[in-house]
Assembly symmetry: C2
Homo-oligomer: 322 residues x 2
């Protein structure tokens, strides 16, 4: 494996350690290195998220003013434990309640639910909002089965804004839900990932092909296509998302394009300008953009495109470029 690692079992510990050395406003709990928090948590409704590691900078990279206050993290591609969620909720709560905004995966769902019940007995009120933005993970008719991926970003952003404005737990969660209801994402994979402790890819994307709709852990996508051009890929991604969100001309949207781990920045911008081309061609107005390695999948080569269909409220919360 041509990569920077030491013992594969230490990967998560060392990522967290490195991140905290670079971000001195954060710390772990003294007895649980899988719960990361702002050193000073503001007195208001607080935001918690969590999920498996390997998606850096998510989740810990979004613990910052205006977004998350605390995150529970799991091993590579594994849910945080119920204990970690429980401890995250307890340390996050400042008396006004906790919004837990996370992505739909069975393990996370189970552990969040269990933790919410546990802390309720101790007087900590937690409401959860679930992201199901990966449109390739299940058909629209079975939206409850869809996974949550990069779209969480917008939920944290609008919920964070409402929380900072002093909103109640219900208002914060309603904002996150409003974003969730209007967000859709789709990934493409050009080259598979390798989990460090496994040491070889669990799946393969053949050279000359790309996989539309691949999951954030390499789950099979909608279809494999012949790799032609960035523009053709952008056309397919945009087409799937605007159909799913029922976006029509003159709609205003925010878009986010994330590299999946080993995709060079320059190529992200090439794909992004192709995405913008297809949106413009359909008279869809893009009022907010974000490009970069935002929610990744270890060393997968590929990209995730997320569209948030805006209404006046969502637009106000996002304001300009975020």
């Amino acid at each position: 494996m041509q990569r920077f690692i030491n013992n594969p079992d230490d990967v998560v510990d060392e990522i967290v350690k490195g991140y905290l050395l670079d971000n001195r406003a954060l710390e772990t709990l003294p007895n649980n290195f899988r719960v990361v928090k702002r050193k000073k948590i503001p007195k208001r409704v607080t935001l918690v998220s969590g999920g498996g590691s390997g998606h850096e900078p998510s989740f810990i990279g979004y613990i910052r003013p205006g977004m998350l206050d605390v995150a529970a993290i799991g091993e590579i591609f594994s849910s945080p434990t119920a204990k970690s969620f429980r401890e995250a909720f307890k340390v996050a709560d400042q008396g006004a309640g906790v919004a837990c905004i996370f992505g739909n995966y069975s393990g996370d769902n189970m552990n969040v639910k269990s933790a919410i019940m546990d802390v309720a007995d101790e007087g900590v009120k937690v409401k959860s909002v679930v992201s199901r933005d990966d449109i390739a993970s299940a058909p629209k008719s079975e939206k409850d089965r869809r996974h949550g991926i990069a779209g969480l970003y917008y939920m944290w952003l609008v919920a964070g804004k409402v929380a900072e404005q002093g909103g109640s737990l219900e208002e914060v969660c309603a904002a996150a839900q409003r974003a969730a209801d209007n967000t859709a994402s789709i990934c493409v994979g050009l080259k598979e990932l390798t989990i460090p402790a496994v040491g070889h890819p669990n799946f393969k994307i053949p050279d000359g092909k790309y996989e539309l709709g691949i999951g954030h852990h390499g789950e099979p996508g909608l279809e494999k296509y012949t790799l032609s051009s960035s523009n053709e890929i952008a056309k397919k991604m945009v087409g799937e998302l605007i159909e799913d969100l029922d976006i029509s001309e003159k709609n205003e949207v925010a878009i986010m394009l994330s590299g999946l781990g080993s995709t060079p920045i320059g190529e992200q911008y090439i794909l992004f300008q192709d995405v913008m081309y297809w949106l413009k061609k359909q008279d869809i107005k893009v009022v907010s953009t974000k490009v970069g390695n935002l929610v990744t999948s270890l060393n997968m080569n590929g990209a995730a495109l997320t569209i948030l269909k805006l209404d006046s409220k969502l637009k106000e919360w996002l304001i300009n470029k975020c």
Copy 2:
């Protein structure tokens, strides 16, 4: 090639186009898409840089308040033309002079010098400061031959600070020179890069090996070593830099670790915490850190480590985390 591109000849145009669509405060010159500038250039000494494309987000990603005002860019790994530097200087100048802070490569040197002479005839005063931070590109005794790589970042940052404080052209350039004199970088390569228009790697790093001191375009390094652990690599990188900069215990430093293009964020943090381990072990105090894809080399897998040895003035200009 498993990558997001269209026509390989359009790669630079499309990267710039994408970047400008995501950063609305920037624009190209109307008749030269290889000169990118802030739409509103402040009335003070202005900062110009430039170099080959393929190092995104450098150079255009550093056109922002407190850093560059204008950048001239070339084709992939090729110097901008003298014409582009000339036009960059002319549009940058607000009457107080222009600081051109660029990396030492023969093409860039030649074109910058030629452009400076040309615009002098038109009354535009340009002073240049050259980065030679890549310690692997020539021995210390031949420092003039060394190439400039990621260390430019600190030169732009301190020069930008002095310019924003209203410093003269001489003061701005002296700040950049002071950073240059105290900055050293070294790269490691784990996996080679491919220039899109070439379509296959120009050089190879065998599996199980890594190359210490590889150049930003794949220039041969100091030596190939067996790939063992991130910690061993960090030890070698830190060792080379502190020897070159003559850093001893209790010295204060700023450090920057950049992925080279296809290195996942998580692995960058693993390597970073190993770098911090070796600096701490030698009692070197790190007062400023920066980790990410900061100056890349297309899709090379690897990392660049940069150390800036601080004195009280450099520390004041950097202030805290930058």
